[in-house]
Symmetry: C2
Subunit: 379 residues, 2 copies
Amino acid sequence: MRVAVVGVGMTRVGRLVGKSIRDLAAEAGLKAVEEVGWEPPEAIVVGNMLSSLSEQENLGALLADYLGYRGVPAFKVEAACGSGGAAIAVGYSLVRAGLRRVLVIGVEKLTEAPTPVTTRRLAWASDADYELVHGPSFAGLNALLMRHYMSKYGVSREEMGSWAVLMHENGYRNPYAHIRKRVDLQTVINSPVIADPIRLFDACPISDGAAAVYLAAEGEARRLSDTPVWVEAVANATDAVDILSRKYLDRLEAAIRSAREAYKLAGIKPKDVDVAEVHDAYSITGVLGVEAMGFAEIGRAAKLVHEGRFAPGDKPTINPSGGLKSRGHPVGATGVYQVAEVVMQLRGDFPGVRVDAEVGAAQNVGGVGSNVTTTILRR
Amino acid sequence: MRVAVVGVGMTRVGRLVGKSIRDLAAEAGLKAVEEVGWEPPEAIVVGNMLSSLSEQENLGALLADYLGYRGVPAFKVEAACGSGGAAIAVGYSLVRAGLRRVLVIGVEKLTEAPTPVTTRRLAWASDADYELVHGPSFAGLNALLMRHYMSKYGVSREEMGSWAVLMHENGYRNPYAHIRKRVDLQTVINSPVIADPIRLFDACPISDGAAAVYLAAEGEARRLSDTPVWVEAVANATDAVDILSRKYLDRLEAAIRSAREAYKLAGIKPKDVDVAEVHDAYSITGVLGVEAMGFAEIGRAAKLVHEGRFAPGDKPTINPSGGLKSRGHPVGATGVYQVAEVVMQLRGDFPGVRVDAEVGAAQNVGGVGSNVTTTILRR
């Protein structure tokens, strides 16, 4: 049973004051439904991590009703920052299990709470009993990985900094991006320290936003769309949430496992991928993601970016959206943005940096690499 | 593709001081895996609503690792008090989509937070923008339904009170139950008012607990179990979260729709059901659930209970576990308890009130009837 993406929608990412979870989800979700001629979905899957900030659970029923589909099966899927990818995995399985049309919406509303509150809640992606209790922020945990990686592989500050430069160069041209601003290497490496060695420009912004992907079974897909994009594989994998109990700190094993499984299911190799969206919550996460996806050997990705690889025109082009660094990171929505962006690349209608692509991949990472979903798409 | 339950596990329900989410989930989850000879699951689905109280999201990865299955795909499914049922629906779909073995764990840890905090968080199941902002608790919203129902159908305080008497009579014999105590009708109807007309004994307790259900595809099921219980149907349906925008307040339309769809998929009628677990968060919810399942006409269920119907020996027997009222309500786990209990009835090894049953049903209700999952099981 083949499954296709037949519609996508997204809101601009940013500090969207006055727009609630339901406003954002409706804007993105209904755009996706509009793309299939307003054919109603048979089920709705919502990816979200922190609707607790809005004192609202039960998002499945809430959004089904608000979008105009009162009654249809609906629920929320959560896997920390990997919630969007996990929601795609569930939506895909619902179609494989027999449904014809499933709408997946990722949504997150973060910016209207005080930043310290949001920062604390984001750390709920780490282990409350073994990590959070000692006080580290989510940035602090990622900083440990970055320090270790730079030291082990002799990666310079300039090489790590090149990640942000490339992302902002791409995101500058993405009308949906949160931070549309070019930056030079000096700005990145001289920016304020957040959690040493993570500096301001190594970290993605905290964002609001929603994205949607309309999935359909094969026959239905051909009926609803002239440009279906085929979902070749969706593979989820997990790791220990607490990083101290892991075997390696220089790689994300769940990301490696998820990518390998996805490639196997799709019957392709990393070299077949034309465009990929990886999860650069921090520059270190982006670098480890590129390596997990098999686009660079372990220890090499930052150096390659510094040498000019993965920019538009290269194969694969990485994060033409600008990635989490520039497009932004509406946490539970990010994995859905990534898939929607790759779909638009494959259809040829992404409104920013465009890649001539036949095969695309998206990898969404939850926690410090503890819950990862890789999706492979083909036009 | 047929799907079976081949293993179940549960913790005692109650105020389980000192036991965290991971402790509870491991106890229930590993009991279920033990029942299949320690065959590892291929994926884990966690039903939970309020792990926010433990400052812990990312439960999928956390529990996969803690149970000893680091790496396997895992995520959390949330649908308010209907999270457990929704998790069963997702686990069932994963097997229908091609996985052979999926472990579904429902878990909730509520009792170590201050009661006003827990009460507020439970109201996150209602609509934050249209209900919560005005201050009603979750009990307050259900009280509106109870008042309307009693008035419209001329149901007496004694008739409504009979629900709790029956539940405590059943739960008294369930070693897993939170409140193992017989009560008489006078105690119920003279108990303190919580939110008029809901009195203390109309309301379920706030509980901790975890339950697990191990699902397997047909061939695998016969290999792993001599007593597989077949999942004939799982059907989820939603309704407006805010009750003010609904057409009816004397019925739960999502519960009716979910039950009808489940019966249709299973090819059975309400009269074929031998045993059912319904979601009596309040006595009114239980009564509306019995009516939604087609066991009584609208307006009649409380009167029938008062006349002695649905007790052990009757067909169907309702809530031999004691229901939410007596077994307790570990919110995101409740839907998994219900299915595990019905499975044990069908296998003949439930350690409390036992029903000689071939066909069983479980209905789990989220919000004030906004997210409902009905599961039909057959021995």
